[in-house]
């Protein structure tokens, strides 16, 4: 029986206690200091307006970092430098952020920056995301940064204004949950599959009001990009944040990144990061254990991320009106095999699965294969850095010769507000994070999966696993 030590603190408690400008009382929330504020064009304009109304500046411009990602076209500018904006308003929104960053002295990774990227891909690449930090952004997938042992969560635009003005937020202490993931993920099973499995088990509001720490052998075995995928999807279970304690894998990922110190200063920081791990005996309001070795490649079939099955399983019977409605929206019947379902589009990208390891995984499936003739496939790197790395490895050529489109970095078809969208009634297999009704465009139907599975579906032209298309030598001869 582990001793419940009142002095023992969890990773979350260490970060919570370490950032209190004022503690929470019975009448007032805590005032929490924010170490890093990430900003993008969609959720910030009205936040900057608060500064103008108050006649004040950004309190800590050095703790604020901006990028262009949501409304931005992923096709290049024409010969006159004109970008194919979806609307004038989208262009104006980006200009507004450019103007705001200039006016308030904020580092913006705009069109000319070699670091521009989807906000949750760019932050870690620059080493702006560091263990022990509090990180916020007007974006729910800010939970991604928890992979580094940061307390990172999404906020609304009013709060974006609060942080710009005061570098602080009013917060009530959330509850804590630890999910122990024992065992090892099987071959061909990814962090995306693990995340979909967890959300399916705890439900899409199973984490509401909680910060989740992922622990156990399966998490320790994940590389940083996989941990980011896992923490990214935490909000899909309703949780405020997901976290993984820093370890040697975290340190090795961060060493040498632009925003980090070098030499002994880095090693000293690294030693402190290792102290952040939850103490033995630390208290959690909820604790769950799952056996990661039983997780298989997963795919969603409904209209929320909790509605997932193993690839190859049949559509389950609806147990509520909302599930019934979801099946009807997706044009699926209980008991139906998903393999019968033709697909129209495949999207590889997003803050969930738009990193270099995700692109390599998709490329590995497409090597010496072609996508089905009726399928349109978009590959959208998560950042300029991912794009460069992929092009150096020849992945752009590989995707193009397989029949896919290679695009510029951005959120693209995950949120479908830049013109990249799934047409009404069409079915997409997507590596993004949400399969809500109309998420990828009005009337779109989304099935969420890992890059491996999504690429396999592109080849098969229907729902299929990588294992299945590997063995399907008649239509897809494997040359490697």
């Amino acid at each position: 029986m582990p001793r419940l030590d009142m002095q023992a603190e969890s990773l979350f408690e260490k970060l919570w206690n370490g950032h209190l400008v004022r503690p929470q009382t019975d009448e007032t929330p805590a005032i929490m200091y924010i170490d890093l504020h990430l900003v993008h064009e969609v959720t910030s304009p009205q936040g900057f307006d608060l500064l103008r109304e108050q006649g004040i500046g950004v309190r800590c411009s050095g703790r604020t970092l901006a990028t262009l990602d949501h409304s931005t076209p992923t096709l290049p500018a024409d010969e006159n430098g004109q970008r194919p904006w979806v609307t004038e308003q989208a262009s104006r929104q980006v200009q507004t952020l450019q103007g705001n960053c200039e006016e308030f002295g904020i580092e913006l990774h705009g069109w000319d920056s070699p670091s521009r990227g989807v906000v949750h891909v760019m932050g870690p690449e620059l080493g702006a995301t560091q263990p022990g930090m509090t990180i916020v952004c007007g974006d729910s997938h800010t939970s991604t940064h928890g992979a580094f042992g940061a307390l990172a969560f999404g906020i609304g635009t009013t709060e974006v204004g609060h942080v710009l003005a005061t570098q602080c937020l009013l917060q009530n202490k959330p509850r804590s949950m630890r999910i122990n993931l024992e065992g090892e993920l099987g071959k061909g099973v990814t962090a995306k599959d693990l995340a979909l499995h967890i959300i399916n088990r705890i439900g899409m509001h199973g984490g509401t009001g909680h910060v989740i720490e992922y622990a156990g052998a399966a998490v320790r075995g994940l590389d940083m990009e996989s941990r980011m995928t896992l923490c990214n999807m935490t909000i899909e279970a309703g949780a405020k944040a997901g976290m993984v304690a820093p370890d040697q894998i975290t340190i090795d990922y961060l060493r040498g990144r632009p925003r980090l110190p070098e030499g002994e200063a880095f090693e000293q920081a690294a030693r402190q990061w290792l102290q952040l791990a939850s103490d033995p005996g630390a208290h959690f309001d909820q604790e769950i254990s799952l056996d990661a070795s039983t997780v298989a490649p997963r795919i969603t079939y409904g209209t929320n991320p909790a509605m997932s099955i193993n690839v190859g399983e049949r559509v389950p019977t609806a147990t509520s009106d909302s599930q019934e409605k979801a099946l009807s929206y997706m044009d699926l019947r209980a008991g139906q095999s998903l393999a019968e379902r033709p697909i129209d589009l495949v999207f590889i990208g997003s803050c969930t699965n738009g990193r270099i390891s995700d692109l390599r995984a998709a490329a590995n499936v497409l090597r010496d294969r072609r996508i089905a003739p009726h399928v349109r496939m978009l590959v959208v790197p998560g950042s300029e850095a991912v794009l460069r790395e992929a092009e150096q490895e020849g992945l752009d050529e590989l995707f193009r010769s397989a029949g896919a489109e290679w695009r510029l970095p951005g959120c693209s078809m995950c949120i479908a507000m830049n013109g990249d969208l799934v047409p009404p009634g069409k079915t997409a297999v997507s590596t993004s994070n949400r399969n809500f009704e109309g998420r990828q465009g009005a009337g779109s139907r989304t099935l969420l999966a890992s890059p491996e599975t999504a690429a396999a579906c592109a080849v098969a032209g229907r729902i299929a696993s990588f294992a299945e298309i590997k063995s399907d030598s008649k239509t897809t001869p494997e040359i490697t």
Partner: protein
């Protein structure tokens, strides 16, 4: 922020569970740089057909929708994206209160920040109010309670819990920013330790 003390009015029920912020306002309406008139796009894809024609039969397109200050929604309302455009659109459309048996964290914080009152009721009470579409109820923040008249005309008071500071600010129409900015000396002190 407009103060909220109490109000009585007819409720509008959207009984679906897990109504996410992409439903409340689809992403293509997020390219705005202010929130003026954003209520026009609330539940845009529920209120229009594939050709963009208004579905006159939808409850949100009935004249009573704009006259209902209280939205009652199924379990886990406001999940998904952090877009404040969602509560802003509901507020601009005319709602002042959202009632559910569970409301997602970020949506709830956003709503409280802009003066849209989120009310979480017990499952049993929630189930009953879901059956009362169009009927008048009272939401009283001063006493943190919802008052309903049952079919047998008996009046019931249901208390709800709400974060005390959010309640304090809503009752007085106080902007939470003012409290934060008054903490400046403490923020400075904290920063000196960094």
């Amino acid at each position: 922020m407009r103060a909220f003390t109490a109000l009585s009015g007819p409720i509008l029920v959207l009984a679906e569970e897990n109504i996410d912020t992409d439903q409340i306002i689809p992403a293509r309406y997020l390219t705005v740089t202010d929130f003026d008139g954003i209520g026009e796009h609330v539940f845009a894809d529920w209120r229009h057909d594939a050709e963009g024609e208004l579905l006159t039969g939808h409850v949100l397109n009935k004249p009573r929708a704009r006259k209902s200050p209280i939205l009652v929604a199924g379990h886990n309302f406001g999940c998904g994206s952090s877009r404040e455009h969602a509560p802003q659109a509901l507020l601009d459309f005319g709602f002042r209160v959202v009632i559910s048996s569970e409301i997602a964290d970020i949506f709830k914080a956003n709503a409280q920040n802009i003066g849209l009152l989120p009310v979480v009721l017990e499952a049993e009470q929630h189930a009953r109010v879901l059956e009362m579409d169009g009927e008048e109820i009272t939401v009283d923040l001063e006493h943190s309670r919802v008052t309903v008249q049952m079919a047998d005309r008996a009046v019931q008071h249901w208390s709800f819990s709400i974060d005390p500071f959010a309640r304090h600010c809503l009752l007085r129409g106080l902007d939470r920013f003012d409290y934060l900015s008054q903490a400046e000396p403490d923020i400075k002190k904290f920063e000196e330790r960094l």
